[in-house]
C-alpha cells in the first residue's frame, strides 16, 4: 500500500512550519507529536470534551476534529503561545493568572482547552455575565472543578468580580 504524503505549511504560535504529513494525521496529533507542543491535550477524539481546543486564525477549533492538512496556510495558536512562560518562567497571561488566583484548575488536563476557548470568547465578550460565561464553557468538560472556580476565574480575569 502506498502511503500518501502531502506538504503542509502553517504558522503555529508565530513560527512557520513546513512539514510533509499523511492526510489522515489529526491536527491534534500533528501539534503534539510532530511539533512537540504537548500543552494541547486530547480527551475524547470525538469533539465533545474540548481539551484539544486551539485557535485557528483566532477562532477556537477542536484540533481532534481537524486534519493537520486543513491547517495549511493558516495561523494556529496553542496554549504554549499564550504567555512567555515556555522558557520556565512564571510569566502568565492575565487569564492564566486569574485561573491560578481563583483555583480554576485541579488536575489541569482540560485547562489548556478551556483557556483557548475563553481567549476568543473574552475578546468578543469583554464583560460577560455568569450565564454567558457558563454557556461559553459548556463545550469543555472538566471532571475536577465542578466549573465554579473556572467561572470565578473568568470573572476575575475580566474584572467582573471587582465590580460585583
Amino acid at each position: 500500500m502506498r502511503t500518501l504524503i502531502t506538504t503542509l505549511v502553517c504558522t503555529v504560535n508565530g513560527v512557520r512550519h513546513e512539514r510533509t504529513v499523511e492526510p489522515r494525521l489529526l491536527l491534534s496529533d500533528f501539534l503534539r507529536h510532530e511539533l512537540g507542543l504537548t500543552g494541547t491535550h486530547v480527551g475524547c477524539e470525538h469533539g465533545v470534551c474540548g481539551a484539544c481546543t486551539v485557535l485557528l486564525d483566532g477562532e477556537a477549533v477542536r484540533s481532534c476534529l481537524m486534519f493537520a492538512v486543513q491547517a495549511d496556510g493558516h495561523d494556529v495558536a496553542t496554549v504554549e503561545g499564550l504567555s512567555d512562560g515556555l522558557g520556565g518562567g512564571d510569566a502568565l497571561h492575565p487569564l492564566q493568572a486569574a485561573f491560578r488566583e481563583a483555583h480554576g484548575l485541579q488536575c489541569g488536563f482540560c485547562t489548556p482547552g478551556v483557556l483557548m476557548t475563553l481567549v476568543p470568547f473574552l475578546r468578543d465578550h469583554p464583560d460577560p455575565d455568569e450565564r454567558e460565561i457558563r454557556e461559553a464553557l459548556s463545550g469543555n468538560l472538566c471532571r475536577c472543578t465542578g466549573y465554579q472556580n473556572i467561572v470565578a476565574a473568568v470573572r476575575l480575569a475580566c474584572g467582573a468580580a471587582a465590580r460585583a
Partner: protein, 780 residues
C-alpha cells in the same frame, strides 16, 4: 513595590505551586513523553461480552508494513498469568471470596466487551490501529450474565467456568440483635433500592510508556497510575528485575477518581514487557472509547433494606441484604461492597445491624472504586429509609435525623464491624448536630418549608428541599513516607511517594512543611509519584493523601527542624528553646539579626573538611513515615433546593449547600475545590450519567456524545461551610475530603425531587435518575 509575603502555613488560602506549569502547557502528562525510536501500541479488544475464544490469527497483521510485533496470549509464554489480588478481604468470620483476577490477554474465553485479545506494536498509532483490522478472531458467542439477580439465578451463564456459580463473595456482618429490634419496633420500613453504574471519566485517559535502557539495565515506566510504587514493585517481580532497576513515574495525571489505581491493568503489564523484548521504547494511550470498556467502573448494587424504628423515630436496627456487581473479575477484593456495608451506618446511633451482601460476577467491565467507592450506596439506603420512616411516622425528616445522631461524648465510637482496611469501623471524632443545624441555617430550611414552599406551590411551582447527612471513612493506612531536604540555596525539597491527580499535593504538602520550618510555601519544591525520588509507600486512594502522606511530611519536617535547632544552637551559641525559625532563617528569639539562613546552615551541615560529629548525619535532611492504626472519619451535611418541571421532568438545582467537617483544613481554597468537584461528580451520578448495558452485555453509550457528563450549565455554585473537628489520629488533625462531595448527592436528589412533587405519591428508590427515568416514575 515591596514584595508582600505570601500566606504560607496550614489553614491558609495559598495559591497552588503547581499551577504555572499546568497553565502554560509545560506540565508533563504521560502521553507527552517523547523518546527516540518510540513505538506505538493498539489493542484488539473483545466485541463480545461473553464468548469462547477458539483462535486468533495475527499473521496478516504481522506482515503489514510498519508493524513491529503482534502479541496474543500464546506469545506471552510464561509471562501470561492472572493479575494479583490487590486487596485481600478483611478477616470477617464466615466470609466467602472467590478470587478471579484479570488476565493480560484473553486466552480461551472472552469475559467482557473491551477485554484485550491482541497487542499490535507499530511505528505509529495509526499503523497499529490499521493492523487491528488484519487480525482474524474466531469466537463463539455465549449468553451473557448481565443483570445482577439473573446472573445469580439457576442456569445463568457462568463468567468463570471453574466456579459453580457467579457468586464472587458472600459476607455477613452483624452488631446487636436485629431480630429483637424488629420485634419491638413500632414500625419497620422496607424498600428495595437500586444504584447503577457510571464512568469515572477522568478527562485524561490512561497511558503507559516504557523504556528499557539496556546499558544501564534500567526500566523506566511512565504510567497514569495513582500508585506508582506498588506498580514498580509488581513490575520488578513480574519481569525478574530488582526493584531498584525499575523506575515508575506517575507525572501529572489528568484526574484519577479511583480507576487509575488498578493493579495491574493488562496494558501496564504488557507495554513494559514489549519494550524490553523489542529493545525500543513503547507507548500506549487509551482512547475514549477504550476507556468506556477497559477502564474500571463502579456502582451497580441492589439493596433490600429494612429499618426498625420506635414511634418517636429512634432507630432500633437496620437489616440490609444486597447484591454487588463486581464485573468480570474481582482484583480489588471487597473494598467497594464493604464500604457500602460500613457507610450505611452513617452519623447515627444504630444499635443493631445485620448486613449481608453477595458480590456477583457479570460479563461487564471490572468494578473497582470510583470516587466514593461504594459509600454512596450505604448513604442512599439509610437516608432514604429515614425519609420514608419520617413520612410514615409523621415526623419532620430533619428531626428524625437529629434524634439519631451520635453525640460528641460517644467518640471514639466503635461500630463493631470491620472496615475495608480490616480495622474495626471506629469513628475517631465528630460533632454532628451542629453541622446539621448549620446546613439548615444556611439554606433557611424553616422559612422555606413554612413560607416559601407553600407560596411557590400556590403559584403552581414544584420546588423541593432536601437535607442529608453522611460520614466517610478516610485516611486509612498502611502508611506513607516523605523526605525533607534543605538545599544550600535555602529551598526545601520534599519527596513523597503518593501520586498526584489534581488534589494540590504540591501546595498542601508544602504548606505543612513550610509551617514546621518557617519557610515560604513557594520555597518548598514537592516531588511526588517518582519511585527514583521516593520508593516507599502505597498510593493515592481512600481520601488519604493529606492525612497519611501529609502527616509523613509533617514528621519529616519536624525531624529536620530538630537538626536545624541542634546545629544552629551551636552556631549561634543559644539553647534550642531560644531559637525561632522564620522567613527561611533561624535566629535567636528577640534578636532577628543574630541568625543564619537555612541554606547557609545546610552548607555547614555538609562540610568538605573537618568532621561531622559522631552520631549525627550530614546535611539537613530527614525521612519519616506515618501509618495510622485506622482511618479518620469525616462527615457532612448537604442540602439542596430543586425545581422540577412537572411536564418535562427537567430538574433545576436552585441552591446547593455543603457543610462539611474534614478535621483541620490545610488549605480552604483547595478543600472547597475538592468539594465542588465531588458534588459535580455526584450530580452527574444522580441525574446524568448511567452506563447502559443491553441484555447481551453491550454498552450502548460508550462515547461522550451519548454518556452525559455534567457541563458548566448543569452544575450550580456550591455554598460551602467548613467545620473543624480535628482527628486525634494524626499530628495535623486532618481527615480526608477528596471523595466527600460525591457521596451524599444521590439521596439528596431523590429527597428533594420527591419533596418538590409532594402529594404525588412518587417514591424514588433508584439512582441515577435521568429526566427520562424521572418522567417514567412520575407517570407510573
Amino acid at each position: 513595590m515591596a514584595r508582600q509575603r505570601a500566606p504560607s502555613g496550614i489553614g491558609e488560602r495559598v495559591r497552588r505551586n503547581e499551577d504555572a506549569r499546568l497553565l502554560t502547557g509545560r506540565a508533563l502528562f504521560v502521553d507527552d513523553v517523547r523518546l527516540d525510536g518510540l513505538l506505538h501500541v493498539a489493542f484488539l479488544r473483545s466485541q463480545h461480552a461473553h464468548a469462547r475464544l477458539s483462535s486468533v490469527d495475527a499473521s496478516a497483521a504481522r506482515s503489514r508494513a510498519g508493524v513491529v510485533a503482534v502479541y496474543t496470549a500464546v506469545d506471552l509464554g510464561d509471562y501470561w498469568r492472572p493479575g494479583p489480588l490487590l486487596v485481600p478481604p478483611p478477616p470477617i468470620p464466615g466470609l466467602v471470596f472467590n478470587s478471579c483476577t484479570q488476565v493480560p490477554l484473553a486466552k480461551d474465553k472472552l469475559r467482557h466487551v473491551g477485554e484485550p485479545i491482541a497487542m499490535v506494536v507499530a511505528e505509529s498509532r495509526y499503523l497499529a490501529e490499521d493492523a487491528l483490522d488484519d487480525i482474524v478472531v474466531e469466537a463463539e458467542p455465549l449468553p451473557a450474565a448481565v443483570e445482577l439477580e439473573a446472573a445469580l439465578g439457576p442456569g445463568a451463564p457462568r463468567v468463570h467456568d471453574q466456579l459453580p456459580s457467579n457468586l464472587a463473595a458472600h459476607v455477613v456482618q452483624r452488631k446487636g440483635d436485629w431480630a429483637a429490634a424488629k420485634a419491638r419496633a413500632h414500625a419497620v420500613i422496607k424498600r428495595r433500592f437500586r444504584y447503577d453504574r457510571g464512568a469515572s471519566a477522568a478527562i485524561e485517559n490512561r497511558a503507559v510508556v516504557a523504556h528499557w535502557d539496556s546499558r544501564a539495565e534500567e526500566l523506566t515506566v511512565w504510567d497514569t497510575t495513582q500508585a506508582p510504587i506498588p506498580i514498580r514493585n509488581g513490575l520488578a517481580q513480574l519481569l525478574g528485575l530488582l526493584e531498584s532497576q525499575v523506575r515508575v513515574v506517575a507525572p501529572f495525571v489528568g484526574g484519577g477518581f479511583g480507576p487509575k489505581i488498578m493493579m495491574f491493568y493488562p496494558e501496564e503489564v504488557l507495554v513494559p514487557w514489549a519494550a524490553m523484548r523489542l529493545g525500543r521504547p513503547v507507548k500506549w494511550t487509551e482512547d475514549r472509547q477504550e476507556n468506556f470498556f477497559a477502564t474500571t467502573q463502579e456502582r451497580g448494587q441492589i439493596h433490600d433494606a429494612e429499618l426498625a424504628v420506635t414511634k418517636e423515630g429512634k432507630i432500633l436496627g437496620v437489616k440490609d441484604v444486597f447484591l454487588h456487581d463486581t464485573g468480570a473479575y474481582d482484583p480489588y477484593g471487597l473494598t467497594v461492597p464493604i464500604n457500602s456495608q460500613c457507610t450505611l451506618l452513617g452519623p447515627y446511633d444504630i444499635p443493631s445491624y445485620e448486613s449481608e451482601f453477595t458480590a456477583v460476577f457479570t460479563n461487564k467491565t471490572i468494578v473497582t472504586p470510583v470516587r466514593g467507592a461504594g459509600r454512596q450506596h450505604g448513604v442512599f439506603v439509610i437516608e432514604r429509609l429515614l425519609d420514608f420512616a419520617a413520612k410514615e411516622l409523621g415526623i419532620d425528616r430533619v428531626e428524625i435525623r437529629r434524634t439519631n445522631l451520635l453525640r460528641p461524648d460517644q467518640f471514639p465510637f466503635n461500630n463493631e464491624i470491620l472496615f475495608q482496611d480490616s480495622a474495626p469501623l471506629t469513628y475517631d471524632s465528630g460533632d454532628y448536630a451542629p453541622a446539621l443545624d448549620q446546613a439548615l441555617e444556611v439554606i433557611d430550611y424553616k422559612r422555606f418549608v413554612r413560607e416559601e414552599q407553600p407560596r411557590l406551590k400556590a403559584a403552581g411551582r414544584h420546588v423541593g428541599i432536601g437535607v442529608v447527612c453522611y460520614v466517610e471513612g478516610t485516611g486509612i493506612g498502611p502508611y506513607e513516607g516523605a523526605r525533607v531536604t534543605i538545599e544550600p540555596s535555602g529551598r526545601v525539597r520534599l519527596a513523597t511517594g503518593v501520586g498526584t491527580q489534581g488534589q494540590g499535593h504540591f501546595t498542601v504538602f508544602a504548606q505543612i512543611v513550610a509551617e514546621v520550618l518557617g519557610v515560604d510555601v513557594t520555597d518548598v519544591h514537592v516531588i511526588t509519584g517518582d519511585t527514583r525520588e521516593f520508593h516507599w509507600g502505597t498510593g493515592t486512594f481512600a481520601s488519604r493523601g493529606a492525612v497519611v502522606a501529609g502527616s509523613a511530611c509533617h514528621a519529616a519536617a519536624a525531624r529536620v527542624r530538630e537538626k536545624i535547632l541542634d546545629l544552629a544552637s551551636r552556631e549561634l551559641k543559644a539553647t534550642p528553646a531560644d531559637l525561632v525559625l522564620d522567613g527561611g532563617r533561624v535566629h535567636v528569639r528577640g534578636d532577628p539579626k543574630a541568625g543564619i539562613a537555612l541554606g547557609a546552615l545546610a552548607l555547614k551541615a555538609n562540610p568538605l573538611r573537618g568532621a561531622v560529629r559522631p552520631g549525627s548525619e550530614p546535611g539537613l535532611e530527614a525521612t519519616a513515615y506515618f501509618g495510622p492504626d485506622r482511618g479518620s472519619t469525616a462527615n457532612g451535611v448537604h442540602a439542596m433546593l430543586v425545581e422540577v418541571d412537572a411536564e418535562t421532568a427537567q430538574v433545576e438545582i436552585k441552591r446547593y449547600v455543603v457543610v462539611h467537617d474534614c478535621g483541620r483544613v490545610i488549605n480552604p481554597m483547595i478543600v472547597e475545590g475538592q468539594i465542588q468537584g465531588g458534588v459535580a461528580h455526584g450530580i452527574g451520578n444522580a441525574f446524568y450519567e448511567q452506563l447502559v448495558y443491553d441484555e447481551e452485555g453491550q454498552l450502548l453509550n460508550a462515547s461522550f456524545m451519548d454518556y452525559l457528563l455534567p457541563t458548566a450549565t448543569d452544575v450550580p455554585n456550591i455554598e460551602t461551610t467548613h467545620r473543624e473537628t480535628r482527628s486525634p489520629l494524626n499530628p495535623v488533625g486532618a481527615k480526608g475530603v477528596g471523595e466527600a462531595g460525591a457521596i451524599p448527592t444521590g439521596p439528596l436528589f431523590a429527597q428533594a425531587v420527591e419533596d418538590a412533587l409532594a402529594g404525588s405519591g412518587l417514591e424514588i428508590c433508584e439512582i441515577p435518575l435521568s429526566p427520562n427515568r424521572l418522567f417514567e416514575l412520575m407517570n407510573a
